[in-house]
């Protein structure tokens, strides 16, 4: 089985929510066989590195193997939050897609759903 490097978007879906100046982003594999690779590669340090340029100071990861899913809580990711941000997206609703696009993972090709557009362009 060939191993490919692809954006997290090829392997997982995600949803972002806000509370104050904290963002939480769930990361859920399309296929359960991708979960181990995600747990190994999508670390707190890598997630924090994505959001640090926006001012984030910490990322905490919670792993839920039964779902399976991960939940990231990112402190100070929202430029103050919806009550004080000068940005267009004070809730950080789009941040799930920042994470999915910025994090690259190396996975066996069969961790990508058969009908995914990334199967046609595995280099992403």
């Amino acid at each position: 089985m060939s191993v490919v490097e692809v954006p997290l978007h090829a392997v997982a879906h995600a949803r972002a929510g806000d509370k104050g100046n904290r963002s939480n982003i769930s990361v859920i594999p399309y296929l359960p066989e991708a979960f181990a690779a995600l747990v190994e590669q999508v670390t707190e340090a890598r997630v924090l590195a994505v959001f640090a340029p926006r001012g984030a100071t910490a990322a905490t990861r919670y792993v839920l193997p039964k779902l399976p899913a991960m939940n990231f809580v990112i402190d100070n990711a929202l430029e103050g939050g919806v009550n004080s941000s000068l940005g267009l997206d004070g809730h950080g609703k789009a941040l799930s897609f920042l994470l999915l696009g910025e994090i690259k993972v190396r996975v066996p090709l069969d961790c990508i759903p058969v009908h995914s557009p990334y199967r046609e362009q595995p280099a992403g």
């Binding site: 879906h13 949803r15 939480n24 769930s26 039964k66 939940n71 430029e79 004080s84 267009l88 995914s116």
Partner: protein, 455 residues
Amino acid sequence: MTTVHIGCGAGFAGDRFDAAVPIVAALSRAQGERFLIYEVLAERTLAIAQRLRRENPEQGYSPFLDVYLPLVLADCHRHGIRIVTNMGAANPLGAARRVHALAKELGVRGLKVAAVTGDDLLATLPEAQIRGEQVIEGIALDSRPIVAANAYLGAAPVADALATGAHVVLVGRTTDAALSLGPLMHVHGWKPDDLQHLAQGTACGHLLECGAQVSGAFFPDPGFKDVPALERVGFPIAEVGSDGSLVVTKPAGTGGAVNRMTVIEQLLYEVHDPCNYLTPDVVLDLGEVEVEEVGENRVRVSGARGKPPPPTLKATVCVDAGWLGEGEISYAGPNALARAELAASVVRARCQAIGVADEVRVEVLGTGAIFRGARRDRNAVVPATAFGEYRVRAAVRGSTRKIAQQVSDEVLSLYCSGPAGGAGVRQSVTPQVSTASILIDRNKVRPQVTVVEAS
């Protein structure tokens, strides 16, 4: 075993106005006790409602009451579907009187309406005491006047209100989950120490509280995860047994989807530590939850565990935070990015020249503004000959309305005083609220149920 059906007709103030109609049709065909809930109170909404109430003591309930309820009130009453909603906002008693007035207009007879109050701390505690409580999140409560301060009530008062036989229950600030858990405690007789059942009921409420976010909305990513007929997305219905068994589904014939993916996304939405989700009723532990497709658009959620709730309640305190002023203008065609950047620099220079002291952000949408500095290619060079389409946006949080308007007007003036081809100006100037979350001893908060008679 008794099964309770709970449908959710709105997940925020502004949700689709007629979303509950297919839910009411589905609930009218279901057996057993049935409820329709609407969740319309964001953190800041209560500050706006509190202001309206000060201007007129009959106001201060959600203006969406008059949007949502006229469409369903008669059918709900005819079929015995009871309504539970936080449209009471800053004035649950006023909301209850408005429901009676609506019933009269619609020819609905014999409606019993109850209101839950006691969440409004300004009504029961001295301001100095509220300021003295521990702030766990948000701004410091300095000397700025408090506009609203509301504790998050739990499900017990909602259950008490239903025990009066009310067909419609209006609450102000409760947890969103209480809108579902209250009916479940009432029908199933779950007690406050029945933690495993309360955990499943809280999970149910959490899954329903954002409306169609669990049934296929806020979800589609075309080519990757698609749902049919998003424009007719079905809002969710939960079926909850007296043993805590929980199935999430949606009305037949509606769009959207209920599957493992939609349910797991919503299960973790706005959750921090999934093993310690604090509510006034129970500390919810999602660590062992399993999510299983048991039929078409039917998902079973099991394994939520409960721990005793904390001795404190969370309360949200709102203070005035000036005005948000925004203005936007577009540039399109060859060299659009350079014209947009010139426009942005003009606005920055003008704000400085006229002495705007508050921080002004001027950004070009289309260059990574949403992700703000977190995209690698944010400085990508676009050739001057390339077609483009960019939108310049200026924003300020001004201490006065005048400052907010001035910054917004600097974008407007670009029509005749800016770069070539500036188009499509939009402006907005809106009052702002800041919030702090505090913890308050639950013994200081006394929920009260009032049956409100028709006048």
